[in-house]
């Protein structure tokens, strides 16, 4: 029997990049194939070609042994291929049913939408694959994990039997990841074939039957989970040995540098986003914030850095009150900020690297003499920082927007850490970066900690927080669920806290049930 899907010699060039270089890939019926690779390795390009969003320059696609041309998503859908995109393709203001039937609507009298009929179908699918989704709920009201199930139902509704899941765990809590894996197993048990794209080694080892590793657009290896481990996979993925654990000694906390008391902050919709939280960060320690995205972390960081008004509460940096102070005052108090969205808030993409490196010192000597900027000084600073922080760029006059994500982040790190700072606030500092850059950023943060700087890190990657932080704050719905020392924290405990459950409560409940 021919494989469900076979790709032969797929090649795709973008200006200046060979994104896919003669890739061959087979997918067998009822198997979970993991496609592993760093960002920019060409995984998403390959899948977008398969789903008809890109046209390949060369290569052929065979489905069940038959050659097919896929020119758009409708062709892919017709061939039974479905894709859950990394960024969900859902419309928050519509219901689950509306989202699912969009493009394949049930109609009555040839004209009017037949919501009831479609909703029944959604309910059936939900039941069959134990997805537990309410067809009438508004998608915008659903938690991310359930939204992902809606995406899966969308594929099942179209009778897809080849499912592509693009980085499906990036937005989930550990418990939600477990739920997703159960769904994947139940899908495979009913004959679906799955391509699971990820750069997370543990997950790939846990869920897949076969692993194909991509690097720089090429297939560099194929293996099975039984025959491999994290180290081997990481080496294959990066092309050299990688240190997976952040090397760091014990922390030596000093006095309090960042003090937050009873802080309330609103979000854009004027709702409470940060709900009366208090904590402190001491010199020489790294405090990490764990939490599912959208539980107030973004607003908290914006409030700490002066980008969002504070409704109530106080913030002190090194003893100086900076509640509702301007970002410049906070910067001058000794705060470095590595923002969540580096392209929007961290850099002026159209400016050259040299100018981006002085965005927080441009008005001070020696960069400025009175009103006049000193080009010579700026260039020499830029030359020095580019070397020191290992920014790979053709020139210091290259616009920041032309750099890769890792190098953009290094420019920000260079700018923020090259002046004397007492506090570093880093939000998602390694999001979307390759393993090499992650290693570098982590080592910089640990180095600063050891120099006696207070470091405050927010990240959606629980692994990152667990390996980097000395103390972990878990946020849920704008409140602090708990603050735990990193060495005592377990993934299960943190996961429960991230979902708003106190592990002690959960244990008590389980006991009660056992007794009953």
């Amino acid at each position: 029997m021919p494989p469900v899907l076979e790709l032969k010699g797929i090649t795709k060039r973008f200006p200046g990049v060979l994104a896919n270089d003669h890739i061959d890939l087979t997918l067998n019926e009822g198997e979970v194939l993991a496609l592993l690779g760093e960002n920019g390795a060409g995984k998403s390009t390959l899948m977008n070609i398969l789903y008809g969003l890109y046209t390949p320059d060369e290569g052929e696609v065979y489905i069940r042994g038959k050659k097919v041309e896929i020119e758009g998503p409708s062709d892919a859908i017709a061939q039974g291929i479905g894709m859950v995109h990394q960024h969900f393709m859902l419309i928050p203001v519509l219901t689950v049913t509306e989202n699912v039937m969009l493009g394949m609507e049930s109609v009555k009298y040839g004209l009017f939408l037949d919501q009831a009929k479609a909703a029944k179908r959604v309910a059936e699918l939900s039941h069959k694959y134990s997805l537990d989704v309410d067809p009438d709920a508004l998608v915008g009201d659903l938690p991310v994990g359930i939204q992902q199930r809606v995406e899966i139902i969308k594929l099942l509704y179209r009778s897809a039997d080849i499912l592509i899941l693009d980085e499906p765990t990036a937005v989930l809590t550990p418990q939600e990841v477990e739920g997703l894996f159960e769904v994947i197993r139940s899908l495979v048990a009913q004959g679906k074939s799955i391509i699971f794209i990820s750069h997370k080694l543990k997950e790939v080892l846990e869920i897949s039957d076969r692993i194909v590793v991509l690097r720089r657009g090429k297939v560099v290896g194929e293996t099975r989970p039984q025959e491999s481990d994290e180290r081997k996979l990481a080496a294959m993925m990066v092309g050299r040995e990688v240190i997976l654990q952040v090397p760091k000694g014990p922390a030596h906390p000093g006095e309090k540098v960042l003090e937050v008391e009873d802080l309330y902050v609103l979000n854009e919709q004027e709702q409470i986003a940060v709900d009366g939280i208090s904590f402190s960060v001491r010199a020489g320690e790294i405090v990490g914030v764990a939490g599912v995205q959208g539980n107030g972390q973004t607003e908290l960081v914006e409030a700490l850095t002066g980008l969002r008004p504070i409704v109530e509460g106080t913030i002190r940096v090194a003893g100086q009150e900076v509640t509702n102070a301007t970002p410049r005052t906070i910067t001058e108090a000794g705060t470095a900020h590595i923002p969540e969205d580096r392209q929007r808030d961290g850099l002026v993409l159209s400016y050259p690297i040299a100018d981006n490196l002085i965005l927080n010192t441009y008005y001070l000597p020696p960069v400025a003499k009175g009103m006049v900027m000193q080009r010579e000084v700026i260039f020499s600073i830029a030359e020095r920082l580019v070397k020191e922080y290992d920014v790979r760029t053709p020139s210091i006059l290259t616009p920041a927007g032309n750099l890769s994500g890792g190098n953009q982040q290094k420019v920000i790190v260079a700018r923020e850490l090259s002046r004397p700072v007492k506090l570093i606030i880093a939000s998602q500092p390694t999001r979307g970066l390759d393993v090499g850059s992650i290693e570098y950023i982590h080592s910089q943060l640990v180095k600063k900690r050891d120099e006696g700087v207070a470091v405050f890190v927010v990240s959606a990657e629980l692994d990152e927080i667990m390996s980097l932080a000395d103390r972990i704050i878990v946020m849920f719905e704008g409140k602090i669920m708990d603050i735990v020392p990193a060495e005592k924290a377990t993934k299960e405990e943190l996961g429960l806290l991230m979902a708003g459950v106190h592990p002690t409560d959960a244990a008590a409940e389980a006991e009660k049930e056992a007794v009953a």
Binding site: N48, Y51, L53, Y54, G72, P73, S74, I77, M83, H85, M89, L90, I91, P92, V93, L94, E98, M101, L102, G103, M104, E105, V107, L111, F112, L113, K154, Y264, Q269, E270, Q271, I272, D275, G276, V311, E312
Partner: protein, 413 residues
């Protein structure tokens, strides 16, 4: 904290009601004599089946009554709070308008039915502009060129109507002109991804320039080219004879009925058909629609061209259903007020219609007051509809949620 904020808001509304009440007394009481009365009449013509007797009230009595009621509602809001406080806000606003009318018409009589009828007539072109906006923006194309499309429709309907001596041909020509301008906007915004505000502004300037030039060059010189026949009112049997409601709703020209039907029709299309679901999806998240095999560009083209046609109808209405001639710049900002109505109406057809009625009321009030020779300078009265637009947009609407992709061109990857 949640409660604190909502309490603050509730308190502010309560105080606002009380201020409304005192404002009635402070503004209107001083110039009113004790024995003055205001008469409201309700009959327009003999077509109604039943004559409703006029209502005469003491002006001061009316003022005291409305003021007291507002203050009382405000107190209740402060003390206990209403569940549906925005309904009460609407009611208090209405009381204020009534007090104003009682004051404006003191010693005279005012025909309320007539006023509401003219409110509807003045709301029609604004409604059509608003519907045009709803069609375009629901698919995420901002149409700021509605004003120009209406102007083009008005001009063409006058010219073609005069030449053929048929309002049908005039109407058809107006729809065509609106559709063409819609197609122009669509090509600029969708195909060439021109900034939609600039594209719309260009259309406004183009339409103003063209119609003004041809109007002064030909229509003003040859008056026979600017004399189209007009649609005549049709009274709907039975419904037209209902007192008050009959004259307000059921004694109009065809174009008025068409507009009212369009409001319902576009609502049904938008919320109950396949096309509507796809339009909304494209307006919210075009890439999501694209990944499901929906042709984003096609949906936008069709909606924008349809929007142009509806705007053209608005232009035709101004000429063929009311003044029977084209004047330069005769749309006088109705296209823009229509956009305001669309926003106030939260991008829904019925909402846009309701908002248009408020603007139409301000407009009709203004003419009425001029006739009653109220001691307010006429220039200020003329401002009324625009003032209301600004107040509504700035204050009452609060946070409006446009379609999420509104104004963003779509690029395939």
């Amino acid at each position: 904290m949640h409660e604190e904020i909502s309490i603050r808001k509730a308190r502010a509304l309560g105080i606002a009601f009380i201020i409304f009440g005192f404002a009635v007394l402070a503004l209107f009481l001083p110039g009113t004599a004790a024995d003055q009365t205001t008469t409201f009449t309700f009959n327009l013509s003999s077509s109604e089946a039943i004559e409703i007797p006029p209502l005469t009230v003491g002006t001061r009595m009316a003022l005291y009554f409305t003021a007291l009621l507002s203050v009382a509602l405000g107190m209740w809001q402060l003390a206990k709070g209403f569940k549906r406080v925005y309904l009460v806000l609407t009611f208090v606003s209405l009381l204020f308008v009534l007090a104003f009318l009682a004051w404006a018409a003191k010693g005279k009589s005012m025909n309320l039915t007539g006023m509401l009828q003219s409110t509807l007539l003045r709301a029609i072109p604004i409604t059509l502009a608003g519907l045009s906006g709803v069609l375009c923006e629901r698919s995420a194309v901002i149409n700021i060129g509605i004003e120009g499309m209406m102007l083009a429709g008005a001009f063409v309907s006058a010219l073609v109507g005069s030449v053929t001596q048929s309002y049908w041909w005039g109407l058809l020509a107006a729809l065509l002109a609106g559709g063409l301008f819609g197609a122009l906007l669509a090509v600029l915004a969708i195909r060439y991804k021109v900034d939609q505000i600039i594209a719309g502004t260009a259309i406004n300037i183009l339409a103003t320039g063209l119609t003004s030039y041809f109007s002064s060059r030909y229509l003003q010189v040859h008056q026979e080219l600017n004399h189209p026949p007009t649609f005549q009112p049709i009274s709907i049997p039975l419904l037209g004879n209902i007192p008050i409601l009959g004259p307000i709703f059921f004694n109009h020209t065809l174009l008025v009925y068409v507009t009212l039907i369009l409001v319902v029709l576009i609502h049904i299309i938008l919320f109950y058909t396949r096309w509507g679901l796809r339009t909304r999806a494209v307006g919210e998240h075009p890439r999501a629609a694209d990944t499901l095999g929906i042709n984003v560009f096609k949906v936008r083209y069709v909606n924008v061209i349809a929007g142009g046609i509806v705007a053209g109808l608005g232009g035709a209405y101004l000429v063929l259903s009311s003044v029977a001639r084209f004047d330069e710049l005769m749309t006088a900002g109705k296209g823009f007020i229509g956009l305001a109505a669309m926003i106030f109406g939260k991008w829904t057809p019925f909402g846009a219609f309701g908002a248009s009625m408020i603007f139409g009321f301000a407009d009709s009030l203004q003419t009425k007051l001029a006739i009653l020779s109220v001691p307010i300078p006429s220039q200020f009265l003329l401002m009324a509809p625009y003032l209301v637009t600004m107040i509504v947009l700035a204050g009452v609407v609060g946070q409006a949620n446009p379609p999420a992709a509104d104004g963003q061109p779509y690029e395939k990857e």
